[in-house]
């Protein structure tokens, strides 16, 4: 006897498989719920050109019904456009009911699963779905209701609906009470999420209150609401053959050339000529698409793929921008210095994609031998789990950071008190799972991320190189002081030389090593000039001062270095001492002061300026054999 085949609703499927959409543990449940509510708030604001101001509150309000959990209250309130009361049940209680599904836009939410899953989790663990209060600009009073998911029917059910006074023009407040556990720090922590979200949303003002923490406010640093790009026609290179053919059949009887021009972006009459040059039969171009054979499609598709086309429209992807990112990164803490990089849109995995990178060294984070903190973003949503499998992590590990002055073991994350933020934005990001925690990376995408990282790394290395030159000079000064006299005294003892020879040798040694010191000074000066040039370039491009702490100074940071270079005499030296506690106030001394303070080189000035000091190589090998 065959078993009865039953069909189940989408809601039933997800209710049984919530682990697939980010509810695999009590800790992840809290984070995912916050994330889904926050994403919706930001998307709604941006769609309506509203600068988002979001209040987040997470509290432990009791003991959870499940073993070893707390009852956690999560409230997210925004100043967005509000939701039409008729849509409330769909938005919060129905799976795959989304205004964004398949539109080809760079919104945070894509499918309409997340917030319904959060409602389901609340319902399953606390027997109550989401409490939502919302008000649109047209409403005098706000509507409040509890929305449950009708799991059998994949429908939202509105309960306890009421109207209330709310003294804001428009907005939405969502409240969940779920079984969960609160984790603040670490990769999967709430604070990491908050920091990440703040970083990539410079236009966001956020008020948040997390357990065991005081209420905090992070003000916006940009008053420009990012324009959500409108959905554009697909780019021919973003399609696979099957998709291409299906797309064609939607156009019915139109000629193939017309289909190409109207069905895709970046295809013009000129492009069609290029197709012909590359082997597409002219006759085919006049044929109605309905009458084309599979082989004809294949041939045409191959020609299109091998023809170089203009890159996809930059309007189909969205960037935070280097200027906004520069300002935003300073909100994360006391930044020593940083570099940002926004790449031009490229095609990877058949999709337009933009990679942005921000690298910053912080004064109050981690140690020199700890791995950097990597913040990953997909469409401006922080990715916090399964780091090792992510394309972003792979790209970071594949870069040789030692070349930029950072410590790194082979194929690992680099070391140091840095935050690396890597954002990938694309209308269609390929994730490894439905919970959108890991970007699935093709070689193309990893290479694109890698390039962005390397460009940002080069900028960063200017800062690091300046520091290493300073350390080099410091070390050389120490060497002269410490080893010079010991060397001479040892030689004098072995040879039994008189005091007069000793004095002459000491003088000679000072001259020699003084030349080396001047070489090191020149190298430092060169590094400073290059850094100053970078800063000047950034200033022209409108990017803030990359010396995080220097930016708060009166001179605007880089100006000091430029002045020093013009002067040609004084070399500014930022001491790293007291780095952790001494925020925003780099102590500066001139190197000449440092040298004279040591009183070690009275003879340096006497050396002829034209003396060419040899390169400071310690050990060289020479083959004398002809």
């Amino acid at each position: 006897m065959t078993k009865k085949i039953t069909s189940s609703s989408t809601a039933e499927y997800f209710a049984k498989n919530l682990q697939q959409v980010g509810f695999s543990s009590p800790t992840k449940a809290v984070l995912t719920t916050l994330k889904e509510a926050f994403d919706n708030a930001l998307d709604a604001c941006e769609e309506h050109g509203i600068l988002p101001e979001v209040h987040v509150s997470i509290k432990k309000v009791g003991t959870g019904a499940s073993k070893s959990t707390d009852l956690v209250e999560i409230i997210v309130e925004d100043n967005g456009p509000g939701i039409d009361p008729d849509d409330l049940s769909k938005v919060f209680g129905e799976y795959l009911a989304s205004s964004k599904f398949g539109r080809g836009q760079c919104t945070r939410g894509q499918q309409g699963i997340g917030i319904s899953a959060a409602t389901t989790w609340a319902q399953l663990t606390n027997a109550m779905g989401a409490r939502v209060t919302t008000k649109t600009a047209r409403m005098r009073k706000a509507v409040t209701a509890v929305i449950d998911v009708d799991i059998k029917g994949n429908k939202g059910v509105l309960k306890q609906k009421d109207t209330v006074d709310w003294d804001i023009p428009h907005g939405t407040r969502v409240e969940f009470r779920i079984d969960g556990r609160v984790q603040l720090n670490g990769d999967g922590g709430l604070l990491t999420y908050v920091e990440g979200t703040t970083l990539v949303n410079p236009h966001l003002t956020l008020h948040y209150e997390l357990p065991d923490m005081e209420k905090k406010t992070v003000e916006r640093v940009s008053t420009v609401s990012p324009e959500i790009p409108s959905a554009t026609l697909p780019h021919p290179h973003t399609m696979k053959l099957g998709e291409f053919m299906t797309h064609a059949h939607l156009y019915g009887k139109v000629e193939f050339s017309k289909f190409l021009k109207t069905g895709f972006s970046r295809v013009t009459d000129l492009t069609i000529k290029e197709f012909v040059k590359n082997g597409m039969a002219k006759a085919l171009l006049g044929k109605p698409v309905m009458k084309m054979t599979e082989d004809e499609f294949k041939t045409a598709f191959a020609v299109i793929q091998k023809t170089e086309l203009q890159q996809p429209s930059t309007r189909s992807v969205l960037t935070v921008g280097e200027e906004a990112l520069s300002k935003s990164i300073l909100r994360l803490g006391a930044v020593d210095f940083f570099s940002v990089m926004t790449r031009k849109p490229r095609i990877a995995d058949f999709k337009p994609v933009v990679v942005e990178v921000a690298l910053a060294r912080f004064l109050d984070r981690g140690g020199g031998d700890e791995s950097i903190q990597l913040l990953r973003f997909a469409n401006r949503v922080p990715l916090q789990f399964d780091k090792s499998a992510c394309a972003i992590t792979k790209a970071v590990e594949s870069v040789n950071w030692r070349a930029y002055g950072l410590g790194q073991s082979k194929d690992s994350l680099p070391l140091g008190p840095y935050v690396f933020a890597v954002s990938v934005v694309s209308p269609f990001i390929k994730f490894k799972n439905a919970s959108k925690e890991t970007i699935d990376g093709s070689e193309e995408l990893i290479e694109e991320i890698r390039r962005a990282l390397m460009q940002a790394g080069q900028k960063l290395s200017r800062h690091i190189r300046k520091e290493s030159r300073e350390a080099d000079l410091e070390r050389k000064l120490q060497h002269i002081e410490q080893f010079g006299p010991i060397l001479v005294e040892g030689l004098v003892r072995i040879t039994g030389a008189p005091e007069s020879r000793k004095k002459r040798a000491e003088e000679g040694l000072k001259k020699l090593l003084g030349r080396d010191t001047r070489d090191a000074e020149a190298a430092l000066s060169d590094a400073q000039t290059k850094l100053a040039a970078l800063k000047e370039r950034n200033r022209k491009l409108g990017i803030g001062d990359e010396d995080g702490d220097g930016g708060t100074g009166e001179d605007g940071g880089g100006g000091e270095d430029m002045a020093a270079m013009d002067d040609g005499d004084i070399i500014k030296k930022t001491t790293k001492k007291g780095k952790k506690g001494d925020k925003g106030e780099p102590r500066t001394t001139t190197l000449k002061e440092a040298i004279s303070a040591r009183n070690a080189l009275p003879a340096v000035k006497a050396v002829a300026s034209g003396t060419t000091a040899k390169a400071a190589t310690t050990t060289t090998t020479t083959g004398k054999k002809a």
Partner: protein, 388 residues
């Protein structure tokens, strides 16, 4: 006192005098504000030469130059610091190991705060300076009264008589046949020993494993055959290398090496015993025995006796490194590149190609019921000329 130290070779150099001249030259350069340069023989494979007539690796013309600058001033100061300690040892006739020298240096730094910048963080730092001084002056470290720990070289024989000249000029005679089960172990100044055979010695067998050498002796090999059996105990120490050289020169008996069939044994153990090493180019003349032959285990023995082999595990770091080194040796080592040693190179090639290794103890599997089987095979191989 200096004369009482047993000399390893007839060195015409007056080390204290040469050291003083060198320091004087450095001082003079400093007085003239010129950069002094310390030069030493470059002891590495890329500066190794092999002449089959000479039989061991000799240094080429490459030199390591250390020119004074802010980066090298620390090394130079350390060289002069340790040289002074060594010269004092030469003067007083005291000897030390490298580890002891490390602690002497630490002691001096402790008692003289001004010297603190010279302090060595670990022994590797002071060792490299001692080696540099030896290479710079082209003298053995033993000639600077710095001796290494004695390891390996446990020797058994019923015919061998050793006469040792002691530092006070007296002599001691050791008849190895009277030592019972105890071995004779040479010090690392074997040149102070005179060898004599009570009866004609047919061969000397150097066994890689000290344990297997002990087994062969315990089972009566030295009683049944007029031979010398010696345990190398892994990579031969200077003591073992000098001792083999001495046996080769003074007794003029054929020497056979018996060890594992693997790249490590061929390159690190056998090549070092026969031709010296790249790291000790200036001392290979007195610390290698070019006449020593590779008795096995040979690839043909594996086939002939159906010996158990292990597959080289390429995911094992040590084994993978050894295999890579073997490939490098075939490409760069002048010893294996010389046509005189082409049969040894062929063994390395076989190892690289087949990725197998066979241990010397595998001979005990040939006839497990016969405890003398290993000895019989060794003797048969010598008689049959089955060696390289």
């Amino acid at each position: 006192m200096t004369d009482k130290i047993i000399r390893i070779r007839n060195l015409t150099k007056d080390i204290p005098k040469e050291a003083k001249l060198l320091c004087d030259a450095v001082l003079k350069e400093l007085e003239n504000a010129n950069r002094p340069v310390l030069e030493a023989v470059k002891c590495s494979l890329d500066n190794s030469e092999y002449d089959p007539k000479v039989g061991f690796l000799t240094p080429g013309d490459k030199r390591v130059r250390t020119e004074l600058n802010v980066s090298s001033v620390q090394k130079m100061a350390r060289v002069i610091f340790l040289l002074e300690i060594l010269l004092q040892n030469l003067k007083s006739g005291m000897v030390n190991t490298k580890r002891e020298l490390y602690y002497i240096a630490k002691g001096q730094v402790k008692s003289t705060p001004k010297l603190k910048p010279l302090d060595f963080a670990d022994q590797d730092e002071s060792d490299s300076i001692v080696d540099f001084i030896g290479d710079m002056m082209e003298v053995y470290r033993e000639e600077l009264n710095c001796f290494a720990n004695d390891r390996g070289g446990q020797t058994y024989s019923q015919q061998l008589v050793v006469t040792e000249t002691l530092s006070d000029g007296s002599t001691a005679t050791i008849d190895l046949s009277t030592l019972g089960t105890s071995p004779f172990q040479p010090k690392n100044k074997p040149q102070a020993l005179k060898l004599k055979a009570r009866k004609k010695i047919d061969f000397c067998l150097v066994v890689e494993s000290e344990g297997t050498a002990g087994t062969l002796v315990a089972n009566g090999m030295t009683k049944r055959h007029n031979c010398i059996v010696m345990g190398a105990q892994g990579v031969p120490s200077n003591g073992v290398r000098g001792w083999c050289k001495l046996i080769q020169n003074q007794l003029k008996v054929p020497i056979y090496f018996f060890g594992d069939l693997d790249a490590y044994t061929m390159q690190n153990i056998f090549r070092t015993l026969k031709a010296g090493s790249a790291a000790s180019l200036i001392r290979n003349a007195d610390f290698s025995a070019p006449e020593v032959r590779f008795l096995g285990v040979l690839p043909e023995d594996v086939k002939k006796y159906d010996l158990h082999c292990y597959q080289v595990r390429e995911n094992d770091q040590a084994e993978a490194r050894s295999l890579k080194k073997a490939k490098d040796a075939l490409a760069n080592d002048p010893f294996f590149q010389d046509k005189k040693n082409r049969r040894l190179a062929a063994i390395l090639e076989w190892l690289v190609k087949n990725k197998l290794r066979c241990e010397q103890q595998a001979l005990f599997s040939v006839n497990p019921k016969d405890p003398l089987m290993c000895e019989k095979i060794i003797v048969d191989k010598i008689k049959a000329g089955s060696f390289v």
